[in-house]
Symmetry: C5
Subunit: 89 residues, 5 copies
Amino acid sequence: MLIARVIGEVVATQHHSSHDGQKTLIVQPLNLDGTDRGDAVVAMDAVDAGIGDRVLLVTEGFSAMTAVGRPNSPIDMAVIGVIDRIDML
Amino acid sequence: MLIARVIGEVVATQHHSSHDGQKTLIVQPLNLDGTDRGDAVVAMDAVDAGIGDRVLLVTEGFSAMTAVGRPNSPIDMAVIGVIDRIDML
Amino acid sequence: MLIARVIGEVVATQHHSSHDGQKTLIVQPLNLDGTDRGDAVVAMDAVDAGIGDRVLLVTEGFSAMTAVGRPNSPIDMAVIGVIDRIDML
Amino acid sequence: MLIARVIGEVVATQHHSSHDGQKTLIVQPLNLDGTDRGDAVVAMDAVDAGIGDRVLLVTEGFSAMTAVGRPNSPIDMAVIGVIDRIDML
Amino acid sequence: MLIARVIGEVVATQHHSSHDGQKTLIVQPLNLDGTDRGDAVVAMDAVDAGIGDRVLLVTEGFSAMTAVGRPNSPIDMAVIGVIDRIDML
């Protein structure tokens, strides 16, 4: 999983039926110091995250499908937690 | 998922039977500002996307197979939505 | 698998139910000489690893879910062993 | 999927039984302009491709296993089509 | 798959039960000319490879689990063949 921040949302009227009623978020992966880690990606929302939230992002298909409760959906990334706090060594 | 633009199509007469009747698209992943993100890849089409469309691209096998309704097909990337609009923070 | 060191823990109150009671660790992948290998990632704990431990990290979803005994969980990385010793050629 | 060219073959007498009778090809991924894209990889052959052919390469495990008709085989890349023509925008 | 050389072994007393009695190898991926390709990784052994052997490495979870005959194991890379010879174009 990666730490990421929700920075936007995608609207796609013509889409696969599995995406009906799901929020499609744009998330920016982050380094531990809060700087950007590579470029933003698109992920389904599984925990009702909002724009600006710091979240946990799974980046593998089967995991992501499971996260949104749709095991046969074309989803390869999902937001599965909103982070409260990170405790470091 | 990634944002991408459809830029071409592949014709392969000698192919795996699972690809019969499926469009095989060449898509260029994009950054949020519309610039190219790495190099183009090849993806199956699940939403009848056309050349020039800005689309949502899944890049994982099981997700991609599901997208085209062929759960046992050798497909690792699929176009699953045509993007209307992106709302940013 | 990668060799990594546990360097922190993530606290996320609002999370997917599959993560109840699981430790979510921040781990830093390492090269063989002990230097950092890329940036830290987030992984579920399957062997009760502690901060500072040198561990084995699986980085694929189905493997990671299996590691924590939750085959339908949104988990894409897991800590599956605490390393005692590495014997090199 | 990636576009690639078949450039060699691997011979491995001591191998997993699932590879019996399968051609193991060395393929070089290509950019759209025909230049090399990263380094060569090893893939199973699902369409009787020959050395020198320009092919479609799936790079994900479940897809690749399916391609060669062996759903429980340790195969993570497969050649699934011989390309005739690419139509660009 | 990648070509790699076995360069070491990992000893981890506190590990996931699925790893009982399996050799955990350190392998260095190689380019076709025999030079190092990125950094070494950790893989389960499915063909009784020894230190110094040039091997075939699968780098995807489901493939790797299958290779060692443990379909529900937290394994994401496996050594599945010992290479005798590579025939190039």
